[in-house]
Amino acid sequence: MAPKEHEMLLKGISGSPGICIGKAYLVDREGVDVIEKYYISEDKVQSEISRFKNAVKKAKKELAEVIEGLPEELRHHSYILETHMLLHKDKMLYGKAIEIIETEKVNAEWALKEATSRAKAMFANISDPYLRSRSADVEHVSDCIMRNLVGVQDLNISNIDKRVILVAHNLSPAETSQIQLERIKGFITNRGGKASHTSIIARTLEIPAVLGLENATEAIENDDIIIVDGNKGMVIVDPDEETLFRYEELSKQYEAQKADAIRTSDQPAVSSDGVLLGIMGNIEMPEELVAVKDHGGDGVGLLRTEFLYLNRSQYPPEDELFEQYKEVVELMDPKPVTIRTLDINGDKEISAVPTPDEANPALGLRAIRFCLKKRGVFKTQLRAILRAAVHGYVRLLLPMISSCEEVRETLKLLDESAEELSREGYAFNRDIEIGVMIEVPSSALIADALAELVDFFSIGTNDLVQYTLAIDRVNRHVADLYNPLHPAVIRLLKMVTDTAHEKKIRVYMCGEMAAELLNLPVLLGLGFEELSMAPQSIPMIKNMIRKINAADARKFVEKVCRQNSALDTMQLIQDSYGDLLTQKFE
């Protein structure tokens, strides 16, 4: 192969933050992908079958050891592995392979390959994405047996004796749980997304990971030097000396800051002149609450509630919602949990709802609009939230608000729900703080009117930027134009924060903009009282806030508001606060 002349940039999805530089180690089985086929004579059939059975036995034994040696924090994933145990002897795999050896008189490897592809074909037509992806389980089990048949030894991840970066097509739960922190610097995969099993484990282990790279295993060869930037979701292959140097610095600074930040993460984030900011976590599942606590979060600034509605054919019953909310609220008490009501049919699709054919779903029937059309569904959720509010500090957050009517309608539904609950004899708490997401420009423009109706604003920057700049950030042709520091966005933010202060209601932010260190002087200066972000970002953000003077930042914002371009603003921040920060603009 011709030597690669220049560094190559691969873009994926950030699975877990952090930066690492190291040698690539491809987990994909070079020797195993090419399966030999040969015929065996009649008298060898029995010995071929026992060779196969032996390989299955060994593979099962290996898996049993993996389960045995699983650390406590990964135990709850082990049912997947238990299922894999049973799959080893499944009729469609095990039985079929033996049958193929007998009838077709072929070697065990080929028979296994045949049985596997037939089993996988059975999954191809399933429409439910969750069930369809179970074919990966069959594939992983088959791979484990295959390894034992072919006798490839060095594929066991736990045997890796050098500090490497794993490069894989996809990592199975068994493989991921074998990863030993001290041996692996990070990992990158072709498949997987933010909610994938791999990503959740990476975040638990706190090693950098970039997923969904599509062709990492083809673009990268064993022992290539690669840089994994888990903060930006990208990988640089064969970096130039200059890039390498820059990233070594970045990585060192990041690690030093992280260590420093984690030591002090349970301390409040107070600016150098004594202004306190609440730094909260965004979470999706109750399990993630542990991460909020571990990283010193001052509460949950955004609890997404869509999860319970996905992958099912009916809406979840009230009691189920209540139990889930109650668990989170109780665990966080006395710190607040901000529950955002159902925000669906924008970028998420829900299986309980037949997706309407919308040409422009971002501007369509979603979030509060959807809920006000489906009052029964909405009320079920509101009732569950009111009941959960008995057990701790609950705030209610309404997404996608673009008019006062929507808020009034919701307040009416809340009152109705409370009356019903009271009639039915349930314990509930109607006296909760209610806020709206400011994520549509219209809501920012009528902030003064909205402020009369609610207790707080929470600015969702991801959507606000998208709607203000008319940029779809997942459209790669325009994604580079997406910039939260665009003067239009800054002006809208200023408008909302000024209104909130004037009307004496609180103002928070829960979007990716809040997790960028360099945005902090601006956000502090604008007078946000809480910032909410991925739990892993909390320690670094708290650390940075302590270095900033809020009074200076307020003056600084005036300057920022006079800039005419995002680029100028970035330059200005860099010049004014660059030396406080270690992460620099590229």
Binding site: T83, F123, I126, L131, R134, N311, R312, S351
Partner: protein
């Protein structure tokens, strides 16, 4: 289906949120593999072997779908009952 076979069949509705995913499928397969003869899961016109996780998963049973459990051997009615219980309990989820 003739009358004789009906005696050894039961209808169930899937309660689990994720449908018949890997864990329930594994529980069914484990039980069904102890049967004397074949145990079948039938949905619409599709019939799969309840002793195979892969076969069960390929039936793609989402929450709310109704399927028929069927055993061939009268000796397996107890297994049929146990399977029925398992479905009713939502596989302990």
């Amino acid at each position: 289906m003739n009358d004789l076979k009906k005696q050894f069949a039961k209808n169930v509705t899937i309660k689990n949120e994720l449908g018949l995913h890997a864990r329930p499928a594994a529980m069914i397969a484990e039980l069904a593999s102890q049967a004397e003869s074949n145990v079948w899961l039938i949905k619409n016109d599709q019939q799969v072997d309840a002793a195979s996780i892969i076969d069960i998963l390929s039936l793609a049973c989402l929450q709310g779908s109704t399927i028929t459990l069927q055993v061939e051997d009268p000796a397996d009615t107890e297994i049929l009952d146990q399977l029925h219980e398992l479905f009713k309990s939502g596989f302990g989820e």
